[in-house]
Point group: C2
Chain length 234, copies 2
DNA sequence: GGCCGTGTTTGCTCAAGCACAAACAATAAA
DNA sequence: TTTATTGTTTGTGCTTGAGCAAACACGGCC
């Protein structure tokens, strides 16, 4: 399968292009070029001019911000078929407000912002897809913000595990295993805490038999109990 | 001046309609109805079906979320000429993801989501305005999230004061006064902390001579020093 | 003026979770 | 196999800031 065909079939699976015509899909696919990034590499850095928007093909990346003092904050993980880095298409010469770093060797369709912007002007339907994506993202960020302010660390760590299990979890006989290698440091960034606290918390839960851990591995043996923790019910 | 004319002249000052044609403005204004809400009343509640979007005329409101346990989290303050509650125009039957509560007697233009949605389909330019608003809001939320995770309470309180001073501050001889009555509780919700901590912090700063406080009043006598605090430089 | 309600301050206590250090385990490289 | 590297656990001390309760101050109202 050549790139063109691969792009088209991928785009059809992207929420933003839901309900787009064949012509729309083809038009977008024609703009795309293949971009591969190896583990720990960056699709783009915070502050770079947003010259492309991306659709993840394979692999996984994290969207993160870097504070002035160098601390990293993880905003979300990017999975296959997700669109990211769309600021440039909306506003010319805008900088990316965050950086996208590959968690493993990854590839994505890169679409130049300028021609995509033109396409948006011609096909209003595409804009609605984008706006829906944006509103859902706004809601996610609002929820994350509320959680970070009102909830305790324990709840937030539980939430992170559940989110990861939902995105990349795999049913095994012991429960649900999170397939990707996330270090305690990664988990800490996602939950907005330190690796020490994550380590301690996971150890405690393992002693209680709720989860099973290993190097860069977590399995939820009692997902329901973790859900109760996330709700702050105990 | 009748409502129609008032609406039109207001809409021209709204960022979303920047660059919109006269016809566009008139079309939108025709959809609007006047909505007034008295202090502490709600334009809408979290979870309500998003049947209208609003443009603030007079007064001020806060956009906030309520956690399961009843805790309030303040997301942002809404000032005159700002558009809010636009989810409904993008996605049919969507619920508002937050509530909008008036901080003082306020009025706004209410535009029914359905016909506005139709308008968006016909005039792509409007969509870009909305998308720009959304991206800026996303960035704001990302920043707020990062701040809540990486910064100390002191810095966050300083930021809140600066933001308010920027939005509603008035130059007086002693410095910059925040005109609106914000209680310690309000400030705490904005900074994501408790009213006790806010009170203590402000007292300390007052002793240092950086600010002057009163009942529901704050004046920044040394704005520059507060900026340094916000940056975490001391 | 005196009273009341609402907002504010402050002292005290306590738990959460951060920071550092050091030991330990698993994997990769030589 | 040995060694290096990277990730994980755990102990200790300590700071931050939340929670509660009680006193206080300001403004409006009778």
């Amino acid at each position: 399968m050549d790139d063109q065909a691969l792009f088209e079939s991928t785009l059809r699976r992207v929420a933003v292009f839901d309900g787009s015509s064949d012509a729309d899909i083809k038009a977008v696919a024609r703009l795309g070029i293949l971009r591969t990034v190896e583990e720990d590499g960056f699709f783009f850095m915070q502050g770079d001019p947003a010259e492309y928007l991306y659709i993840m093909l394979n692999g996984r990346a994290k969207l993160c911000q870097i504070a002035l003092d160098g601390q990293q904050v993880n905003l979300r993980t990017l999975n296959p078929n997700e669109l990211f880095g769309a600021v440039g298409a909306v506003e010319k010469n805008a900088p990316y407000p965050a950086c996208a770093q590959a968690l493993q060797d990854s590839s994505a369709i890169a679409i130049p912002s300028d021609p995509f912007h033109t396409l948006l002007e011609q096909r209003p339907h595409l804009s609605f897809g984008l706006m829906k994506l944006m509103t859902s993202y706004i809601q996610e960020m609002q929820d994350r913000y509320r959680e970070s302010v009102t909830e305790k660390v324990e709840q937030r760590i539980a939430r992170v595990l559940l989110r990861l299990a939902g995105q990349t979890g795999k049913r095994v006989e012991q429960g649900v295993r999170i397939e990707l290698p996330f270090s305690r440091q990664d988990l800490a960034e996602m939950a907005g805490t330190t690796l020490y606290t994550v380590s301690r918390t996971l150890s405690a839960w393992e002693k209680q038999g709720l989860i099973a851990t290993g190097r860069e591995r977590v399995t939820l043996t009692h997902p329901h109990a973790v859900m109760r923790l996330a709700e702050g019910l105990e």
